[in-house]
């Protein structure tokens, strides 16, 4: 049995990561690594801060750091636990500083536009010259090779391209997260590979489309094997006897129920006193009739009441939670899933924690998100042992920038 003493060293303690990770996919990947212990340094340019810093929440005022750089609640949530070093990669001296940092890192993450790293002379093969055991993760929409390697992608594009929009509906962000989590998984695999001592670095080419398609597989398999295009009706679960979303008492209130097998079916028939619909009686039109009976029953109850009754019967059911429900979700509250983060420009806000519930070496939120260039001098001193004078020289020619300086 595992003992319960918690140590202070999460599993990725000691791993250094340089991140050009932007928007959702890149930041989520970096965040997962950071909050499992890695020292993640986010590289941003003062002239072109990353897109999340300008992605406003409608109805909220524009927010600015003391330097005048914008920030947002979204950035505060996704870039937490990282430090920020501001390097101007368009300057040769800036690129030299970056390469010096690469010599001291284990991992580089990027999800920049096609060709950006190459234009800076920072392709994997170039960076491996600085660091032969480098693990580099490149996240892109469609992959860094093939006819669409030059294509740009934004979240919803991937849903559309993969067929999720057609099979379900439009939604903006799903596959960004999928790519970010796969990225973190691939990075640790790469680190393990390097540990094995092959002597080589690892370049990981992660296409959002491919990570997404791996999760979409059940929707493609019938076509791949049999040439059939899947045509399940909305909310119809393949293989289940009956799956439905029934309206409950309240405004826009719903409960979801999935009857997977005959035992589930008989259970609900007995509970609703509809013995006539039991499978043994081979009722005609039973699905429609049972659906109607469940809908009538649920309409008198709130979603949570209905779900609790159905769970007590041993059935798979859940309230269809809206954003307010989720905010007060008793399960998430009970399990302490919210990180309470203070960001000077944003205020105090709750954000989802990242998964990392390890009994003895758990991950945790290390710090609020950085202001742009907040840690330039600190990191250059720690990683490169650069003294203040040499950093100031770099600052004065614009290669790097420290927030709070002139």
């Amino acid at each position: 049995m595992a003992s319960s003493d918690v140590t202070s060293r999460p599993p990725l303690d000691g791993i250094r990561v340089l991140s050009f990770g932007a928007f959702v996919a890149g930041n989520i990947c970096a965040l997962l690594l950071a909050e499992l212990g890695a020292d993640v340094v986010k590289i941003e340019s003062r002239d072109r801060p990353e897109a999340l810093r300008a992605y406003d929440t409608p109805g909220q005022p524009e927010l600015f750091e003391p330097s005048g750089v914008r920030t947002t609640a979204l950035f505060a949530g996704m870039a937490r636990s990282m430090r920020s070093v501001s390097i101007d990669m368009s300057e040769p001296a800036g690129r030299d500083v970056f390469r010096d940092l690469v010599r001291q890192t284990h991992v580089v993450i990027e999800n920049l536009g096609p060709g950006t790293m190459e234009a800076w002379g920072c392709s994997f093969s170039a960076l491996r010259e600085c660091n032969p055991t480098l693990v580099m993760l490149s996240i892109s929409g469609y992959g860094r090779s093939g006819p669409l390697a030059g294509f740009r992608a934004y979240a919803s594009n991937i849903n559309n391209y993969l067929g999720l929009t057609t099979a379900w509906a439009s939604d903006g962000t799903h596959f960004d997260f999928v790519a970010g989590v796969h990225g973190a998984c691939a990075v640790v695999a790469g680190l393990t590979q390097v540990d094995h001592g092959a002597g080589d670095g690892v370049f990981i080419d992660l296409a959002q489309t491919e990570a997404g398609a791996a999760l979409m597989a059940p929707l493609y398999l019938d076509f791949l094997a049999n040439g059939h295009e899947q045509t399940a009706a909305p909310n119809e679960v393949p293989g289940s006897l009956l799956s439905l979303v029934a309206r409950c008492a309240g405004s826009d209130a719903w409960v979801a129920l999935d009857l997977e097998d005959a035992r589930d079916w008989e259970t609900i028939c007995d509970y609703l006193d509809r013995h006539d619909l039991r499978l043994a009686n081979r009722p005609h039109g039973a699905r429609g009739a049972l659906r109607t009976a469940i809908e009538a029953w649920a309409s008198e109850l709130t979603p949570w009441q209905a779900a609790l009754h159905l769970q007590a019967l041993g059935l798979a059911a859940a309230p269809v939670q809206d954003s307010e429900d989720l905010w007060r979700d008793p399960q998430l509250r009970s399990r302490d899933c919210y990180a309470d983060v203070w960001q000077p420009e944003v205020g105090r806000l709750e954000y989802p924690k990242v998964p990392g519930r390890l009994s003895r070496t758990p991950g945790h939120v290390k710090s609020r998100a950085p202001r742009l260039g907040e840690h330039t001098r600190t990191v250059l001193a720690e990683w490169l042992r650069r003294d203040e004078g040499s950093v100031r020289a770099l600052e004065s020619n614009g290669a790097v920038w420290q927030a709070g300086s002139a």
Binding site: L36, S170, V181, A189, T209, P238, L257, W327, R357
Partner: protein, 403 residues
């Protein structure tokens, strides 16, 4: 970069994973197996529920016919053991002793492994120095810990279903089991991190919940505590020109948020007079003028050719894509040129293509080594050859219904 052959030494070569999960852990152990781990899938004698999940292969139904089972379980070995029964404990302990990781879903699924201890959450038969990872719908603590779930009901709970579907309802579930799988790859990340290097603490338990991985997705879209707004069901993601547009011959999705992307969009459409007002460059303005801009842009897009628009847009740097059906994606050349789809052949499902590893690397780290196991395929190999039990014992367990 294409998928070029098998890794010389995969990162998880020599790592043994004992997998008692069903749907919650199938993708996790698939990822670990793809990366070289020896995953032993332990099914109850009736077979994993996934084996009856459609669609089925061309060879008809039966325990070996599910394409879903075949996809999620390649690279794994398979044995049977009724892990709900007390009589299984000695064998489970032996199996765990020869493993580095034990995966289980002790709550939230219809079948639960014997020996689950509530406080602290653990499996009594797992020896020290083994990592235990629970992958469950809601976690092994908290008021909903015992709730049974399926990907459909877990999705309802996630907050992601409510804002999707027709405005009058009902809300609509995402098809498939994508949050289960996203939780699976997140678990594979945590497991690998704990297994990396000799200084790591392996003697611990990971309590990993699908619900919490889904909740992480809300980091991007939800700030209820800030806005107090309940997201309503809308048909388009927006704001314009973001969203899906009907062209002459098909649908196109555009993702454009920055002022620069707006400029590119207007350029690609040939600078129509109706869109040149500079105030439209600001995304917040476009949110306020959602309906007006939607009408203008819908009319302009209806005159475009879908593929032509995407090609012109991408040349100019506009993130946009065709809105495919699943089958159309499968036939597209990009993933094919990168060797994404791989051929799988096994008794029961026949020969068909499956999506391959979710990332490519140089040197390669993952590959398809073997197809999914037949029910109990490796019983003799594991119980007799590896654990050194006699064939007579195995036969006794078989006749007892334990194996």
């Amino acid at each position: 970069m294409a998928r070029t052959g098998a890794p010389a030494v995969a990162p998880l070569t020599g790592t043994r994973v004992l997998d008692l999960t069903s749907r919650c852990g199938a993708y996790c152990s698939k990822v670990l197996a793809d990366l070289g781990a020896d995953v032993l899938k332990v099914e109850r004698p009736a077979g994993d529920g996934c084996r009856s999940q459609p669609p089925f292969g061309s060879e008809g139904e039966g325990p070996e016919a599910s394409l879903v089972f075949a996809y999620y379980h390649h690279n794994k070995r398979g044995i049977t053991l009724d892990w709900e029964r007390q009589a299984a404990v000695p064998l489970l302990a032996e199996l765990a002793t020869s493993s580095d990781v034990v995966l289980a879903s002790p709550v939230g699924e219809p079948h639960r492994p014997v020996g689950f201890v509530d406080d602290p959450p653990s499996l009594a038969w797992v020896p020290p120095e083994r990592l235990t990872c629970f992958i469950t719908p809601y976690g092994v603590t908290g008021p909903c810990r015992g709730w049974r779930a399926t990907p459909f009901t877990a999705f309802a709970m996630s907050g992601y279903m409510h804002p999707v579907g027709p405005p009058d309802g009902p809300p609509r579930a995402m098809p498939g089991q994508q949050f289960y799988d996203e939780a699976g790859v997140a678990a594979a990340f945590l497991i690998q991190a704990v297994l990396r290097g000799p200084h790591q603490v392996r003697d611990q338990v990971i309590d990993h919940a699908v619900h919490e991985v889904a909740f992480l997705n809300k980091l991007g879209t939800e700030q209820y505590g800030l806005s107090g707004q309940i997201k309503r069901r809308v048909t388009n993601f927006g704001p314009p020109p973001g969203g899906i547009w009907e062209c002459r011959d098909g649908l196109v999705d555009i993702g454009a948020h920055s002022p620069r992307q707006w400029d590119i969009f207007v350029d690609v459409l040939g600078q129509p007079d109706t869109l040149t007002d500079p105030i439209y460059r600001e995304r917040t303005i476009r949110i306020q003028l959602f309906d007006l801009l939607t009408d203008i842009i819908a009319e302009l897009m209806s005159r475009c050719d879908a593929r032509g628009f995407v090609e012109a847009g991408q040349r100019a740097g506009l993130p946009c894509a065709l809105t495919h059906r699943g089958a159309e994606f499968v036939l597209e050349s990009q993933a094919r040129k990168r060797g994404f789809f791989v051929s799988s052949s096994r008794t029961g499902t026949g020969c068909f293509e499956i999506p391959g590893t979710p990332f490519v690397s140089q040197p390669p780290m993952a590959s398809l080594r073997r197809s999914a196991p037949q029910l109990g395929e490796h019983n003799e190999e594991v119980f007799v050859d590896e654990l050194r039990h006699s064939v007579e014992e195995l036969n006794r367990w078989r006749s007892d219904g334990l194996v």
